[in-house]
Symmetry: C2
Subunit: 134 residues, 2 copies
DNA sequence: GGGAAACTCAAGCAATCACTTGACCATCCG
DNA sequence: CGGATGGTCAAGTGATTGCTTGAGTTTCCC
């Protein structure tokens, strides 16, 4: 089986390619055969099949062969996994910034020595790289 | 500069590696020097620097050198870009399914002969592939 | 000044990637 | 049947990745 980290490896790796993102966008609109997916692309059918295998291994696409036609469709759980990872990190970062902002906005009556930060970790923090988001 | 597709290439590729995702998770908790980031990792400092360069090129991390220390921090815009792409595709897929479900739930007076089972059969769906066949 | 800390740079190497081509197999249809 | 359609498989190729080592460079501190 594959644990969560391996799954994220596969999902992000699969999406790190324009052709594969294009296949996903096409499949969002509905299922399609391999040939249909390959038709507008400037590469061989075999190459498209390989891209589809990457997407299928990542769990982003599932496919089923009926007769001689393989029909592919989106399986959105893997996309949700990637989205969830990103969302959690972004909110984690925002929460940390909020906490920092609260410290600055309401200093309360703190000791004038301003040592609200960690005591035994190397105290390098907000002042250096916390500029305006570019 | 870099267009949106190139940016997504870089963001997803940067996140498609466990070590780099680990660096992101560490930096979510606050800025850190290169040496601090490298200390718990089972690889050389130079390797960690290379990972950080990948993250910085993707816009996920920014860094600033002060004295001999380079301090790294999260720059969350790139994470938001990746999250936005995933979110848009997932909702696109869900909307399409909803539309399909509405068709099934309120059949109205469909033309006879074609039943709702058409959704499950490999019969391809509303649109065919667009784009200019070469 | 001198040594250590914290990178920085370049070269090299094995593995993986994104393709290609060519041969092959299965299915449909006239 | 026989040919076209749709796909599969394997091998090969050039580029990129993830890492190493070793040799600098800059800054800090005694």
């Amino acid at each position: 089986m594959l644990n969560e980290e391996e799954r994220l490896d596969l999902v992000f790796r699969a999406l790190a390619d324009r052709t594969r993102r294009g296949l996903v966008e096409r499949l969002i609109r509905g299922p399609a055969s391999v040939s249909d997916l390959a038709a507008p692309l400037p590469m061989s059918l075999a190459a498209v099949v390989q891209h589809l295998q990457v997407l299928e291994t990542a769990g982003i696409v599932r496919s089923e062969k009926v007769g001689r036609v393989r029909t592919c469709a989106i399986a959105p759980d893997a996309l949700r996994a990637g989205e969830g990872w990103l969302s959690a990190r972004r909110t984690g970062w925002e929460n940390r910034l909020d906490a920092l902002g609260a410290l600055v906005d309401s200093p309360g009556r703190r000791s004038p020595g301003q040592d609200t930060r960690a005591r035994d970790t190397p105290a390098r923090e907000p002042d250096t790289v916390e500029g305006t988001p570019s």
